[in-house]
Amino acid sequence: MAEEEYQIDLGNLTAFDPHHQFSSLPDNINREDLVKECIAHGTKLIQAVADALFNLPSTEDASGPVISLPPPATKLPREKPLPKPKPPTKWEIFAKKKGIQNRKKDKLVYDEQTGEWKRRHGYDRVNDDNGLPIIEAKMTDEPGVDPFAKRRSEKKQRVEKQEKNRLQNLKEAAKVGALPSHVQLAATSLPITGTQTAPRKVGKDELQNVAGMAATSTASGGKFDKKMAGEKPSKHDKKYRKFLPVVEGSGMGSLEKQQSDKIVNKLMAKNSHEILNVGKAVDMYNAKSDKKRRNQQGKSSSSTSSKLKVKKSPYKNASKKKPSNKGKSK
């Protein structure tokens, strides 16, 4: 029948019948019958798919006939975005330009010196840099240079250069979004301590301050130094010296009298008797002597056990005060 044109998708093993209509309304028939009808109709559809499937050319395998399925017709969305193609590395660009072909290297290389086949990398390798006992001196060699150390440093430089190039290639790939999945580029955090602190970038203000500081060490305090183009005039953050006016009357508000009075009072205060707080002086002296006595007692009692010794009352010596200097002036 023309109606029963099922849409068959072999890649997904799907059959779709868009024309089927139920003989009776689904509400009228009970559940069991509905399910049975569904399954019966499903059987027809699956039979159609199986027809198409088994008619495909098959190869015999141990477990059964194996067929090659066509790709699915219904397109379903991807779960992850398409991977972006990697941009060529700097070496790849260069090799392409020059037409350099990549040659596969052998694991074993013939060593001329020993006359045997040695491996290219690893233990006892062919051109081992560290294994040279003697390095012959050339005419171009400088006298004081250690050739072994020189070789080592050269290798280290080559390795560092390669690492830098590798990082650059990865950065280029990361810019496009084509970083390989197992690589992450992480910003290195600056170490808190240690000798390898990153060089701090000096700001514009700091540079100006430093220049100013250096200038103040000159004889005239950096006032007459020739400034470079664009350099701002030196700042003076401190107070300026205050000089009294030359002509001024004497009276209450005269500044010169106030200034000299201030100085004289300060000087006199140091040598004046009235300043001595006798009571405080006495207390200080007593406290000092008490402390001294206590220490002496402590030293003598350290030989005998403290448990046996009767604890002396700390107040006992209060009556044995030395003659105080109260009221007496020196």
Partner: protein
């Protein structure tokens, strides 16, 4: 006045982090986006409240897709797929378990026995379908011959019946999602002995789909094609479509993109012959005898030059002689 320190080697501010073990590297490569994608994994979880039927539904879906799904057993209160902010947890789980399909079950008075089936693209919600489960019949309640029970991971047949799947937008969407959910791996070589399950979906009415899982029995018939018999085995349920959210147009376009390398372009001028093998025609264009560009040798100039030389007022040879004289003087 001040010079910056240029001699010191500055440390690179970026460092390359690679996994320290091969195992970690393999795990990362597994999760990386690929040109041809592998099976989609499913995450099964539930919300604040679930009913008995819903629990059974979720466990049965998990059993149907045992080897490529993850089932969470705790309840998740803060997941609301259809709300603006309620999907962050889902996206996070999708990222952590590398699952691009999820089945979220919840039960409430307004929406009893609710299942939200959703897909993610790049671990962000792509589309959602909300269905209610009715008339659920579980695996254990169907009695069948245990020998024909379908094995885990076998590729299923699908049968979609009903014009609703073509006309009603929600049912069309549900059809696509169900296909994606139960499809399994996309294979190019299939062993016909291993086909043993069928999913039958019938569109009844404008929003209801009867979903059945059956086992397949192939019986001998006279021809190469065996006779197909379906036995109801697994869960049977009525799915009532409640809400759905279609993907953004731009997102859909991006997700449906196929890598240009994979599109098979028709190779022209290749044909197969039983006797000669692979043959192609060489098309020789017509020779244009009149308009062929000839090599440019101005023959006419020679005679003029000869005559001029004979006369003696040849400018070109004069110049040449002068130059030769100068060269001789310079070298001497």
């Amino acid at each position: 006045m001040l010079k910056s320190n240029t001699n010191k080697q500055s440390k690179p501010m970026l460092s390359i982090k690679t996994p320290k073990s091969l195992r970690a590297k393999r795990a990362l490569e597994k999760r990386a986006p690929k040109l041809v994608e592998l099976e989609k994994k499913t995450l099964i979880l539930h919300g604040t409240k679930t009913s008995n039927t819903l629990n059974a539904v979720l466990t049965e879906i998990y059993h149907l897709k045992k080897d490529n799904s993850v089932k969470y057993s705790r309840r998740n209160d803060n997941i609301r797929p259809f709300e603006a902010g309620g999907e962050t947890s889902l996206e996070f789980y999708s990222l952590k378990t590398d699952c691009s399909l999820f089945v979220f079950g919840s039960h409430s008075k307004k929406r009893p026995d609710n299942l939200v089936i959703g897909r993610t693209y790049d671990h962000h919600i792509y589309d959602l379908v909300e269905v209610g489960v009715e008339n659920f019949k579980s695996l254990s309640s169907c009695s069948y011959d245990k020998k024909i029970a379908p094995l885990i991971g076998s590729k299923p047949f699908f049968a979609f019946i009903g014009e609703g799947f073509e006309n009603v937008e929600e049912l069309k969407h549900l059809k696509e999602v169900l296909l994606d959910l139960f499809r399994g791996q996309v294979v190019s070589n299939l062993n016909l002995a291993g086909l043993d399950r069928v999913y039958v979906c019938t569109a009844v009415g404008s929003n209801k789909v009867v979903f059945t899982h059956c086992a397949l029995r192939l019986k001998k018939s006279g021809t190469v094609v065996p006779k197909v018999e379906l036995v109801e085995v697994g869960p049977t349920m009525d799915l009532v479509v409640r809400r759905h959210r279609l993907p953004d147009e731009s997102l859909k376009k991006e997700a449906m993109k196929v890598a240009p390398e994979l599109i098979q372009r028709k190779v022209k001028n290749v044909s197969k012959d039983a006797i000669a093998g692979k043959i192609g025609k060489i098309y020789v264009p017509d020779q244009q005898v009149r308009s062929t560009p000839l090599p440019f040798t101005p023959k006419g100039v020679k005679r003029e030059r000869r005559e001029a030389k004979a006369k003696g007022d040849d400018k070109h040879s004069e110049k040449k002689q002068k130059k030769q004289k100068q060269d001789d003087e310079a070298s001497a």
